[in-house]
Amino acid sequence: MALPKRIIKETERLVADPAPGITAAPHEDNLRYFDVTIQGPDGSPFQQGVFHLELFLPEEYPMSPPKVRFLTKIYHPNIDKLGRICLDILKDKWSPALQIRTVLLSIQALLSAPNPDDPLATDVAKHYKEDEKDAQRVSREWTEKYASK
């Protein structure tokens, strides 16, 4: 099936006018599949890290949300060992008015503001809740270990 005009438009815009700290490039053989990098936001334990993600636009997109997953290991209460992300707009709060760019910006924001009250990785969330400083330390270690450039 031909690529919807919207996806083409979004891709063009992502390439022409990328969001700061975010890159997204479609695979040549599958234009619905994007290689994504997000720089850890300054002031977060993920600062200096470059996280690789994969993003896939399902057939129903934009009526259904894109599927996004961290490929880089990350110590974050809302991201599990498999890289799955707990983010409402990727689930029931999805709206077709959102775009790839807004999704990635949201994820970037999620890195700045972990939400241990709505956890996906329960042990990490527990760690964050009980001893945030120590947990941030682990996050920094992981960033250094797995996400350094």
């Binding site: 919807p4 005009k5 438009k9 979004e10 009526m63 029931d92 709206s95 077709p96 008015a97 775009q99």
Partner: protein, 1162 residues
């Protein structure tokens, strides 16, 4: 017949009488066409009363003389002949002296059906031409019941010679014959044979059975795969005798089988036959080579009978073959064999198959049929050119190519004449100007009505006849006047021979006006016929016998009314004959006829009334009225009225004035309405009494040759108006793949049909009609996801259903059911609401609000202000949205990221999306069980029907909207208006609406016509048009005549606003004149393209001045694409489907194929 031949007496006295021959003791029975002519037993020694020859006569045919008893040439016969006759006539015993005469061996042998003499030569064998009557005939059989006409006797004409290589000797010894000897060919007398057939034996008196009973083969039976019968026990012995009268040999069986017939029937004589080669000493069974020269007797000829009165009548009386018929058939076969043997070929006309003999012919037919097992109902698929599949039906259905062939003749011959046909100007009472071709048509019609032949010289030969030329007789010393090729004529179907040219008959007054079936009418036929009415306005005289005939008919029709009718007629009788014209047309065209007739007539010259509806007057008075003043009475009525009047008439005691009146002229418009001869309509039409009859139709042959028959029956075009005749000579041969059938049809058409096409050219090479261009485009559309889902669910269910039935082989039984499923699919393509119930709250009809769903922006603003207190910021945004509506016309839809084509505002947050996007999103939410909400702010729930569409119209549009005044303006700028989204559109509707918008931008006062087959869809279209604020007019079959007329005339009215006419394809596909429009939209596709084209021609026809734009909407990957495939395949399953339910249990395999196309995988 005469059998005496003088060296120079090659004369036919077509008028000489048999009786006289008898008197000369040459008795011959001459079968005439119908039956066997039988003479009373002749008195052999009666004084010769009229020897039809005289030495000084040249070879002449007096083809036209037909008095039978002209007593000229009463020269007494040479005594020698008489004496010989006497000698020969003694008794049959006298021959017994011939040694070793083998009576038994082959005389009773079965006549085989072998296809011709093994040796044949057309080279003339010079021989003594002379003296002895080689044959003498005695008429011995009693008169048969059918005594048609005793063929004139006379001399014989040379037909040709042929060699028989394997004649065989019946004697032993020397001295009987030697090479070069003249021999005689003789038949036994059928004296002792109790055959009813009048068989005239040769003068020699061998008494042997004259013939036997051939197995009866009716025409129909012959065409079926009946093997040739070989069980005939007919006596076919043909004896060869020498000059002394001794039999020395016989003809081989395959020759004697037909030679015996020819001799028996007295068709030919063999004269001057010689032995070419023979052994010096004969022994029984020795091979003889003999040359036979054939002379056809004058008495074999008679004037051609071209009507049903003649032989054909007997022929088509299928089922039982009378003896007469058998005789005829044998005669025909024998003649064909003879022509074959002497290598005589028709110069023109009916083709004789190469193997000539009709019984061999039936072999050929059998072979042909064998190649197509199952016979008639076969179709094959041919791949042509670009790989397109073309289906050629081999059955009664005519393929296009066959139709082409049928019409080809018209192009090649008749139309050549047509081009140069004289023109005729209409009288002054006709107020319009005719084009050149119309004047020609008028000339043609006028001459057909007045019976003059000038318009198109009808020199066509009767289709059943063919022309032969007499070959030159190769004799020295003879002035061979036959060198200039005297023709004679032979009817290979009936076996008739004639010297007179058999003209294709043309007695009817009237004909068929046809237009090309695919380009169709629009040729101004109404005008042409109006001109004809004005031109031939004089009443016809009352024929003396007419009244009585009428009375008889009336009496027959309604006994109890007879008295009154007679009275009526008596009052009228002194006055004029019929002068009124009756026009029968489809209901939808009645008013058009009325208007056109009025328009084309000077005031007061034509009194036109529509005889329709409840207030049908008694028509009895019209003939009286018409003589009061100078005006012509024209009554227009519909097929429906006619049929119901007719059934009223048939009821006992019923009466109907329309059948009482004798019309001067009856015109059937769209005459294919009565193509089924058994339908009520057709029977009603046949019952009309008229002097002149015209049928107007675009498709004289819709899909069967028999369609034509109904027209011919209406026209009373004998003999073809007789169904059995038509069937015998056209349908059945056509089914047997005999090209002759097509030829016959061509000749019929040539004589009665005037065909005009838009692209025909006149004699100066210009097209007779110049029409503006027609641009046809097909818009391939794609479903919205929601529509796709609905369609697919229906499709899958239908396919499952079909596959199951197919697997069980029950498709045929459930045909109707499957068609219903297909119908649903076709509707699903148009609009989901046509197939789903609308209980989901969205109504297809706007309720409550104004019909175009308009909303006032101020009201909306007020609503928002009221909520200000609650949510100030949102309201502010909303207000700004509304305020900016008219400027922000390039806003991007947040969902598709494209400029919004049809922005929709989501209340109350006033966010905007494309209508399509937001509807699709709301549907997704509902599917997922989520609350439908605004994609931008997640406000919910949002109902689809709450959405507000923002419509922007171009400035050009405003004047009209102001002028109509009944529409609310959305904003003060008049550029933008809002409307409630309480109508669910569809892909096709959207496409239509968008096209109409685009057209309106270019042409604010456009006129468009929209066709659909489904009236329910027409209703949806009308709603969509309402919402576009377009004026629309509707025309469909459910409306009564008055409403239809009103719709059309309002649509045509000249107003400064765009107008759309929505028409049901079936009701409005024919006849209407909609040239005021130049845009056509075909919303769905019909099974055959011809119907669609005819609809398009409502617009693209004479009077159209602009380019016509035609747009077909097709949704991709749906049943529509497959319907197009079937259109191409040119066989619609509907043919079977709508033809009748009787087919339900045996479905044509082809229909099944078509169904598989529908349900096949791409």
């Amino acid at each position: 017949m005469t059998h005496d031949f003088r060296p120079c007496d090659g004369l036919f006295f077509a008028d000489s009488d048999d009786e006289e021959d008898d008197a000369k003791s040459t008795t011959v029975t001459v079968p005439s066409q119908i039956g066997i002519s039988v003479q009373p037993a002749s008195h052999q020694l009666a004084p010769p009363s009229g020897p039809p020859y005289s030495p000084q006569e040249k070879r002449l045919f007096f083809a036209d003389s037909d008095d039978e008893d002209i007593p000229r040439f009463q020269t007494p016969r040479p005594i020698a002949i008489n004496s010989e006759l006497i000698m020969n006539g003694n008794d049959s015993e006298s021959d017994l002296e011939i040694p070793s005469f083998e009576e038994v061996p082959r005389a009773s042998s079965v006549s085989s059906m072998s296809s011709g003499p093994s040796l044949r030569s057309s080279s003339p064998v010079p021989g003594p031409s002379h003296e002895e009557p080689p044959v003498k005939k005695r008429r011995l059989s009693p008169p048969s019941k059918v005594q048609v006409r005793t063929g004139p006797s006379g001399h014989s004409a040379y037909l040709g010679s042929f060699l028989v290589g394997n004649a065989w000797s019946t004697v032993r010894g020397k001295g009987y014959i030697k090479s070069g000897d003249t021999i005689h060919i003789e038949r036994d007398d059928p004296d002792d044979f109790k055959s009813g057939l009048p068989v005239s034996g040769k003068g020699k008196k061998k008494a042997l059975p004259g013939n036997g009973k051939k197995k009866q083969l009716t025409l129909g039976a012959m065409l079926k795969s009946q093997p040739p019968k070989t069980t005939k026990k007919a006596d076919t012995v043909v004896r060869l005798t020498n000059d002394r009268g001794f039999e020395f040999g016989r003809l081989p069986q395959h020759v004697s089988s037909w030679v015996s017939r020819l001799l028996d029937f007295g068709i030919v004589d063999f004269k001057g036959s010689t032995v070419v080669d023979c052994p010096a000493t004969l022994h029984s069974g020795a091979d003889l080579i003999v040359s036979l020269s054939v002379y056809v007797r004058a008495s074999a000829f008679k004037p051609p009978s071209t009507s049903a009165e003649g032989a054909p009548k007997a022929l088509f009386n299928q089922g039982q073959e009378t003896q007469d018929e058998q005789t005829l058939r044998e005669r025909k076969s024998a003649l064909l064999s003879l022509f074959d043997a002497v290598n005589l070929r028709p110069c023109r006309g009916a083709r004789v198959q190469d193997n000539g003999n009709m019984e061999n012919g039936s072999d050929g037919m059998n072979n042909k049929l064998a190649q197509h097992p199952g016979g008639a109902k076969k179709k094959r698929i041919e791949i042509v050119g670009d790989g397109e599949e073309v289906e050629v039906e081999e059955a009664e259905e005519l393929s296009d190519s066959e139709l082409d062939v049928i019409y080809k003749k018209r192009f090649s011959r008749a139309q050549k004449h047509d081009q140069s046909m004289a023109e005729m100007d209409p009288p002054g009472t006709f107020t319009l100007t005719l084009r050149g071709y119309q004047k020609q048509a008028l000339m043609w019609m006028h001459s057909r009505e007045s019976g003059e032949m000038s318009a198109r010289e009808a020199v066509s030969m009767h289709p059943l006849w063919s022309e032969y030329a007499f070959p030159a007789e190769p004799r020295d010393g003879i002035i061979d006047l036959t060198a200039d090729e005297k023709p004679f004529y032979f009817n290979p179907y009936s076996g008739e021979l004639s010297l007179d040219f058999p003209k294709a008959e043309r007695t009817l007054k009237g004909g068929i006006l046809a237009a090309d079936s695919f380009i169709s009418v629009g040729m101004g036929k109404t005008i042409m016929l109006s001109a004809l009415i004005h031109t031939n306005r004089d009443p016809e005289p009352i024929l003396p016998d007419d009244t009585s005939k009428d009375l008889a008919r009336i009496r027959q029709l309604k006994l109890d009314n007879a008295f009154r009718s007679r009275a009526l007629r008596q009052t009228k009788k002194p006055a004029k004959g019929p002068s009124a014209t009756l026009i029968v047309a489809p209901t939808s065209l009645l008013s058009q006829w009325h208007e056109e007739l009025q328009r084309s007539s000077a005031p007061g010259t034509l009194k036109v009334s529509v005889w329709h509806g409840q207030n049908r007057l008694d028509l009895d008075g019209i003939e009286d009225n018409s003589m009061d003043d100078a005006s012509i009475t024209v009554i227009i009525t519909s097929y429906g009225v006619l049929a119901s009047e007719h059934s009223k008439l048939l009821k006992s005691g019923g009466q109907s004035s329309i059948f009482q009146v004798e019309w001067l002229r009856v015109i059937l418009d769209e005459a294919h309405h009565c193509k089924s001869r058994t339908s009520k309509t057709a029977r009603a039409v046949y019952a009309l009494r008229a002097r002149r009859r015209w049928a107007v139709t675009g498709t004289p042959i819709v899909n069967k040759l028999e369609d034509l028959h109904s027209l011919l029956q209406f026209l009373e075009y004998t003999p073809w108006s007789s169904y059995s005749f038509f069937r015998s000579f056209i349908t059945v041969p056509f089914l047997a793949r005999d090209p002759k059938a097509i030829e016959i049809v061509q000749v019929i058409l040539e004589s009665v049909l005037l065909r005009r096409e838009k692209n025909m050219r006149d004699n100066s090479g210009k097209r007779i009609v110049e029409l503006p261009a027609k641009e046809v485009t097909v818009d391939t559309l794609h479903f919205t996801p929601a529509e796709q889902k609905i369609y697919e669910s229906i499709y899958n269910a239908a396919k499952r259903n079909f596959d199951q039935l197919n697997a069980k082989g029950l498709v045929g039984k459930n045909y109707t059911h499957i068609l219903a499923m297909i119908m649903r699919l076709r509707q699903a393509v148009l609009h989901p609401d046509l197939v789903t119930d609308t209980s989901d709250g969205i109504e297809t009809k706007p309720s409550g609000h104004s019909k175009d769903g308009a909303i006032d922006v101020d009201t909306l603003m007020n609503d928002i202000s009221e909520r200000d207190s609650e949510s100030g910021s949102k309201a502010a945004y909303a207000e700004s949205v509304l305020a900016n509506l008219d400027m922000s016309n390039d806003a991007e839809c947040p969902i598709c990221l494209d400029v919004m084509q049809t922005p929709s505002i989501i209340p109350p947050c006033m966010h905007q999306c494309c209508k399509e996007c937001i509807i699709s999103y709301l549907a997704t939410c509902t599917d997922k069980g989520e609350v439908p909400r605004c994609p931008t702010c997640s406000h919910g729930p949002v109902k689809e029907q709450d959405l507000i569409e923002v419509l922007r119209s171009s400035g050009q549009d405003s004047p009209h909207r102001e002028s109509t005044g009944d529409e609310k303006e959305g904003t003060s700028t008049s550029e933008v208006f809002l409307r409630r989204n309480d109508f669910r559109s569809s892909t096709k509707l959207d496409a239509l609406v968008q096209n109409l918008r685009r057209i309106r931008d270019q042409d604010p006062y456009f006129r468009a016509v929209v066709f659909s087959q489904f009236t329910s869809f027409l209703s949806l279209i009308s709603v969509a048009l309402d919402r576009e604020r377009l004026s629309w007019y509707r025309f469909d079959g459910s409306m009564d005549l008055k409403k239809r007329n009103a719709a059309i005339s309002e649509f045509k009215q000249n107003e400064r606003k765009p107008k759309v006419l929505i028409v049901s394809l079936k009701a409005g596909g024919v006849g209407l004149n909609l040239t005021s429009a130049n845009h056509v939209f075909m919303m769905d596709c019909w099974w055959n393209a011809a119907t669609e084209n005819q609809a398009i021609d409502r617009v693209h026809r004479i009077g159209q001045e602009k380019t016509v734009y035609v747009k077909h909407f097709i949704v991709d990957h749906t049943i529509e694409g497959r319907i197009l495939q079937i259109q191409k395949r040119k066989t619609a399953i509907v043919k079977e489907a709508f033809r009748g339910s009787d087919k339900s249990d045996k479905t044509d395999p082809e229909s099944l194929e078509n169904l598989k196309v529908i349900f096949g995988d791409d």
